[in-house]
Assembly symmetry: C2
Homo-oligomer: 112 residues x 2
C-alpha cells in the first residue's frame, strides 16, 4: 500500500512545537499567538508562523475578535491526521509482525 498519506498534513503535525501547540489548544480550548507563546519556549512570532501553517492545512480555525485572534482546533481535520498517523503506524506494525512470523517459520523449517 506504500505511503498514501497527505504529506502536508503529516508534516504539519511533524513539528514538535506544532504538536505542543495542538496539545495546548486542545487542553485550553483555544488560544492566541500570545497566550500560546507564554506556554512555549519560543517567541510569539514563531508561534504565529506555526499557526499560519496549521491554519493553511485546516487543523485550526481562527476567530478575530477585536485586537485578538482566537485559534481553535478543527476536530474533524485533527481526527483525519490522527487516522493517518495510526495508518502509517499500523502499516509498519503489520509488516513487523509479518516479518517476525516469516522469520519464525524459516527458523522452524531449518530446525526440522
Amino acid at each position: 500500500m506504500s505511503v498514501t498519506i497527505d504529506d502536508e498534513l503529516w508534516s504539519a503535525v511533524g513539528d514538535p512545537t506544532r504538536r505542543r501547540m495542538l496539545d495546548l489548544l486542545l487542553s485550553g480550548g483555544g488560544g492566541t499567538a500570545t497566550t500560546l507563546s507564554e506556554q512555549l519556549p519560543v517567541t510569539r512570532q514563531a508561534v504565529a508562523k506555526h499557526l499560519g501553517v496549521l491554519h493553511r492545512v485546516g487543523l485550526v480555525h481562527v476567530t478575530p475578535s477585536g485586537r485578538e485572534r482566537l485559534y481553535e482546533v478543527d476536530e474533524a481535520q485533527l481526527a483525519r491526521a490522527v487516522a493517518q498517523l495510526s495508518s502509517v503506524g499500523a502499516s509498519w506494525d503489520a509488516r513487523l509482525h509479518r516479518i517476525k512470523r516469516i522469520a519464525e517459520a524459516i527458523q522452524r523449517s531449518q530446525e526440522g
Copy 2:
C-alpha cells in the same frame, strides 16, 4: 501527560523521504544508498544523509560488505517509534472524544 515522546525518534520518522525509505527497507528486506535512490526521487547522496540520520537514532543498522553497505531496519527501534506515534494519536483522540462528550453535556444542561 502532554507529549512525553522522544523528539529525535519522531523527527527521524517525520520526514516523508525517510518514511518511504523505511517502507522500502521493510518491503525489500534491506538495501543500499544506491538501490534506495533508484526507487526514490532524490539522489544517492540525499539518501545517504537520511540513512545517517536513521542510523544515528538506531532505526537502521548497517552491514559493510565489500564496497557495499547494506542497511536494514532495526525492528525493535521501529516498534518503539510506532508505539510513540500511536501514543500521540491516542492522546489527541482521547481529548477529541472527551471534548465532544463535554460539549454534549453542556448542551443538554442548557436545554434542560
